[in-house]
Amino acid sequence: MSFTSPRTRWAARLGAGLGLGALLSLLPRSASAQEGGTSSGSGPQITINPTVYRFYPGTAMKPYSFRAANLNPNDINFQDCDDDIILQFNLTISGLPTTDTIQVWAGTTDCSQSSARELGDGPYCWQVAPPGTFGNVSQEFGNIYARNITRYIGTSTAAAEFDSVDSVPGPGACHTQTTSGGVALTLYFLYMPAGAGSGGTPDSYATYGQTVDMVGPEAPELQLPIGIGDGLLLLNWTPQIDSTIQGFLIYAQDQGPNGLGLGAEAGAATLNTPVYCHPATTGTTTCPDAGAIGDSGLDATTTRDAGCTTVYPDAAAYTEVADAASYAGLTTAELASMGCERGAPVNTITAQPASAGSCTSTVLVDLFSTSVTDTTQGDSGITEGGAAITATAADGSAISATAVGISEIDASVYGVGNVGGNTTSSYTITSARTQSGGSGPLVNGHQYAIAVAAYDDDGNVGALSNLGCQTPAPVTDFFDKYSEDGGLAGGGFCSLEAPGAPIAGPVFGLCLGTALVAYGRRRSRRNRSGRSLAKSTEGQHPRVGTE
């Protein structure tokens, strides 16, 4: 943050370059007449409080938690944008009264220049708060939504005034960044002359450095096959070389026995309508026109009116029929005449057994990937999305490709591990969310789909690794083998069992006692010989302990 005028603008740039913007913001600068402006000769001064509070969107102004210190809590990351948090700025304005108004613009260029806010050659700036957000009073608070700051990153091909129609951008505003790493934006709080519009020259302005990083690290490569253990799975992966990586998240999905559980299917869900039938045949049928057709008072099954209803004494006795499809062509009346009725349609996911080598997951999928990079120009056939990133070179050969983006998997559901360090490359999974909900130990015989993603110093979780599936299984470790072969040892220390045990005390006591006796005898000998030697060899160092 810094307050400056065009005359002292160089100071702000230097400060930002050296990372001293926050310090400079505390230093008031004198304002002066602006080019093309209508300043009275001494413009107002703006000081921005370096503490910018965060709130959830809405009018309740519920505080939004800051990230940990190692995750750049003042940056805007993907989650901040996705939640569209409110950044509340506190301005202190002096030099009032004036008729000027405050406009807030963002960009990677100097937004105090009118050309950056008008059409022409880029780069450009965009307005991040509607007019009137900051009033012309000495102490003012104003709210800026995160998505209004991020919406034009990477696409600032045209200057943009605040979009009053689309004042609340959608989630797409969080996918505007196309390269990994932070984008150093500057917010310009421009004190514009009344009636100057967006293209005018400010009387004065203050700046606030705001880093935005909404793209996570590149995907690590999960090494396959995943190691099998007894109630555990052993992962190894190759991390990308990226100093911003702070750690890795490990995801696992329980796909049930042999992968037959929900979520392991390769096909789409199908809409099925169940049919319930009552086993009793003694229901009471009422037809409003009974006898009208000329039969014996009760319509025949095939000809009775649709208005007939049958009420059974035990409504709870309806049971779902197994072959609902065979009832598909019957009308509701016809079903009713048979003591049946249709239930509400439900989506049924048909689980498929995992064939050899197949590994799919309906949940461990990247929802968003910004780009795919490869090493060869002109390659084609690149596909992205899902867990697999594949690319085909122009000559048909496979090439390496990596994706950057954001993994939006719910870590609270499928996250099974979080390990720090940018070179960490292994993890042992011992528990995961069970199919019935809740966390539990891995089950031998259940297939688990597994993926890994790195997270960076802004807390962004990057693209998923390739997917791996594996099934824990019992193993025979050394102690199992020893015991199965008849070995009986184990169970703890201090296992002496002979009469009079433990032996440790007597043995060590005997040795220690012997040693002490020997030591005592030797010291007394040494003292005697030392005294006699001192008498005979004055001034010489006596030998002690050797013959």
């Binding site: 083998k481 220390f493 302990g545």
Partner: protein
């Protein structure tokens, strides 16, 4: 046992080498000079050894295991190594023979391998789990160092004998932590509600015979200066044949973790 005596040629070589050394050092060993050096030799009460050698736990020799050989089946027969340290107190000097006193030793060795699966998966019989047997061998022994050759005949060889009580601590583990064996019936159902943890201790005996080569003969002036500066009287290398027989003395159930082998090391007397 055959393995243990493979080091015999090594000891013979040491003896032959030192026989020639005696004549080489004879010029420095005039009586007057020797007496003066002895006068300034610091006190010698202790010895410290660092040793390194192969370690093959004799687990499979336990009679209750029959011919099954669980150690061999899991870890194979590749050589595992032990590193150990020993501290001796040369409590008593026997005139014209050497020193005798107690000594204690602590070592470390481990055997690791991938654990086999109960049933093969995709044609592979090995899991990703590592199974490990860790052993901490210790012993308390009486040490007799016969240094009369070195001290009175100026042959820099010191044979020695050790004998005493051995105690080994062991732990079996896998990737999930300490192993725990739960017996099952034919249907695969556990026969008890608890499992047996894979760790314990084994008592036994320790016997060793070795030969140390006193390195002071290489440069007596330097060694004298080293003694004056640090108090180290002798620096030696040694080879040793050991019978670390941990079979569970006074124990009803014990994992046989003893080792019959050779070891090499570096020692200091001070």
């Amino acid at each position: 046992m055959i393995r243990s005596w493979r080091a015999a040629p090594l000891l013979a070589g040491l003896l032959a080498m030192t026989a020639g050394m005696r004549s080489a050092s004879a010029d420095d060993e005039t009586g007057v000079l020797s007496a003066r050096h002895k006068t300034y030799e610091s006190a010698q009460n202790f010895a410290f050894e660092l040793r390194f050698g192969p370690y093959h736990p004799r687990v499979d020799t336990a009679p209750e295991l029959g011919q099954s050989g669980p150690y061999q089946a899991i870890f194979g027969d590749s050589t595992r190594w032990e590193i150990a340290a020993e501290f001796d107190w040369q409590a008593y000097r026997i005139p014209h023979l050497g020193t005798i006193g107690p000594g204690v030793s602590v070592g470390y060795t481990a055997s690791s391998a991938l654990a086999p699966l109960v049933k093969a998966v995709n044609g592979s019989n090995l899991s990703g789990e590592t199974t490990t047997l860790t052993i901490i061998p210790t012993y308390l022994v009486a040490v007799l160092r016969i240094d009369v050759l070195n001290r009175e005949l100026h042959v820099p060889l010191v044979p020695y004998l050790k004998g005493g009580v051995g105690l080994g601590f062991w732990s079996a583990s896998n990737s999930g932590g300490t192993s725990c064996y739960q017996a099952t019936n034919a249907a695969g159902k556990p026969t008890s509600s608890s499992c047996v943890l894979g760790y314990g201790d084994t008592w036994g005996s320790e016997l060793a015979v070795g030969l140390a080569l006193d390195l002071n003969f290489l440069d007596r002036r330097t060694s004298q200066g080293f003694d004056n500066a640090t108090g180290v009287n002798h620096t030696f290398i040694f080879g040793e044949l050991m019978d670390y027989n941990l079979t569970g003395i006074l124990q009803s159930h014990a994992l046989y973790i003893g080792n019959h082998n050779w070891t090499l090391g570096l020692g200091f007397e001070f």
